[in-house]
Symmetry: C2
Subunit: 329 residues, 2 copies
């Protein structure tokens, strides 16, 4: 494979000049530039990114670690982040921690050894030690969807307390007095906040919210939780469920309708995220919408601000307000 030296030889110039046409074309005379470009084309030369990164001390990359690429919410978020990374001529490497701490650590470690410019991450363990260490060693990090009030790191999140409130108030207003919350693990703050918000809004309207904890936020977990709910029998069952995300809601919807319940007559359902499938579901899903792509965009913007503004940069915690999208469930 051709090296910069081969190109230089072929074009009859020095390697420095080749490097210049690659990195500051305006600094080299048009004729020489043309000659060098021809040599590059003839040789099929491609610069070695490792060597580049080695001398400049940083790669032209940022990392994005999400807990579930399968969840369209994160896919949309990734798109938003890519959009702004493009403007900075940086590529986004996407990694799927699949809700596994071990995988998350592996990927974060890998990203750090690659000396990426920065990392966007939704930590599975609520942003624990691993992230602290990353930051303390100097890698810029922006937390996604983990709105801890920490001053030591930028974060972008949605006010899930408000989101929960929206859902709780909506259901209470519809006359529901017994509401179930399906979601988990409750140790995840975004999940706990949604529950909390719903509880408060429901309490204010004289309704109660019972938590049904799930191991994950997936369709399968939703099916399982719904199974337990259905098994209880009509008398002993809440009349509405608020699901911590749309994937769960879809699972619940699927199972309860299969078991003969009507939605929303026998059981009302409210989801969260408002992914594209929510509107296309068996019963179009009422859901709490998060500004998905915007979340990704803003997170990336904060990251690049920190990367470029280096030392003097105040960490900011940006919180978005969710919005209730009422459909038929």
């Amino acid at each position: 494979m051709a090296r910069i030296e081969d190109v230089a030889a072929r074009a009859g110039v020095s390697v420095g000049t080749v490097s210049n046409v690659l990195n500051r074309p305006q600094a080299v005379a048009p004729k020489t530039r043309a000659r060098v470009e021809a040599a590059i084309a003839e040789l099929g030369y491609l610069p070695n990114e490792s060597a580049r990164a080695l001398v400049s001390g940083r790669s032209r990359t940022v990392g994005l670690v999400v807990p579930d690429v399968t969840n369209p919410f994160f896919a949309d978020l990734a798109r938003g982040a890519e959009e702004v990374a493009d403007k900075h001529d940086v590529v986004v490497e996407l990694y799927n921690s699949a809700d596994s701490l071990e995988r998350e650590l592996r990927y974060l470690g890998r990203l750090e050894t690659q000396r990426v410019q920065g990392i966007l991450v939704t930590p599975v363990d609520r942003g624990g030690r691993a992230v602290e260490e990353l930051i303390s060693r100097g890698t810029p990090v922006v937390l996604l969807d983990r709105g801890r009030p920490s001053r030591s790191v930028c974060s972008v999140s949605v006010d899930h307390l408000a989101g929960g409130r929206l859902a709780g108030a909506h259901l209470a207003e519809l006359g529901h007095r017994r509401i179930a919350f399906v979601g988990g693990p409750l140790s995840a703050p975004q999940v706990a906040d949604r529950l909390d918000g719903a509880r408060r809004a429901a309490a204010a309207a004289g309704a109660t919210v019972e938590a049904v904890e799930t191991p994950a936020l997936t369709v399968a977990a939703g099916r399982q939780a719904a199974g337990a709910l259905v098994a209880r029998g009509a008398g002993d069952r809440p009349s509405a469920v608020f699901c911590a995300n749309d994937l769960l809601a879809l699972g619940v919807l699927q199972t309860v309708t299969r078991d003969g319940l009507r939605v929303p007559e026998d059981l009302a359902i409210v989801g969260y995220d408002d992914i594209e499938f929510a509107a296309a579901a068996a019963v179009p899903l009422t859901s709490v919408r998060q500004p998905r792509e915007q979340l990704g965009r803003v997170a990336a913007e904060l990251l690049f601000e920190e990367i470029n503004d280096a030392g003097r940069h105040g960490h900011r915690q940006v919180a978005f307000q969710p919005e209730l999208v009422v459909r038929r469930s």
Copy 2:
């Protein structure tokens, strides 16, 4: 940030020894190793992957470029690939070309400048010149879901002709005589094959298949195509549609039911891929299932075979058989 030299100094050994404990721990005496490991921990040392890659000539990475991360089909495929990459102690970098040739080229180029060990790719332009050049310059490539009979490259695919046949035969058997195929662009061979297969099976049963081409395989495109279908009026409408993937089918389903058609009574629908949402749809979707994760696994295995077995490695084209999953649509 600590370098290997700092670690060596702190542990009182040479850099070569530190490198050894990192790469072949069994070759260094237990006592020295312990000392070095302590120094590494104290300094929070992390090797610089760029430097590593530079001297070894290859990074510990493979690339995976898919046309749509949002499509759960590809997410599952990625999971399969990661699983086998893990075993080789290699990480999978995931990139979303979003069906854009320009983005695909950018990512492939980037991967090549990073000197990745190999690339798994579902090319948007049916594996044209870009991929040929990649291969000719020596990067191992495995094509995903692009089963061209080319002997010059490994590929993993599903027999979409058979898949189309499955769908066409199923609908014809149900008595449908006018079937629409919704999907596109038809220039994509996987899409064209599905249409072809459906046509043949339908023709054998005396039915006809009319193609409704869409610009992409998304929910939105499905909605749009369905709109056109609905607008035609009951008399002039096919009684069944076969969609090139489940995303389209979901879009079609959503629009036609919104417009008052019953599925499957007024319009039967068959999807393709059998993603998780298919079963959870308004009307549980009949779909042609592809072995998604297995596809990813086998592709990765072929790639590593080529990477490790270097010169002598016969390119193979693996084709899987799809399977019809009958549900209610």
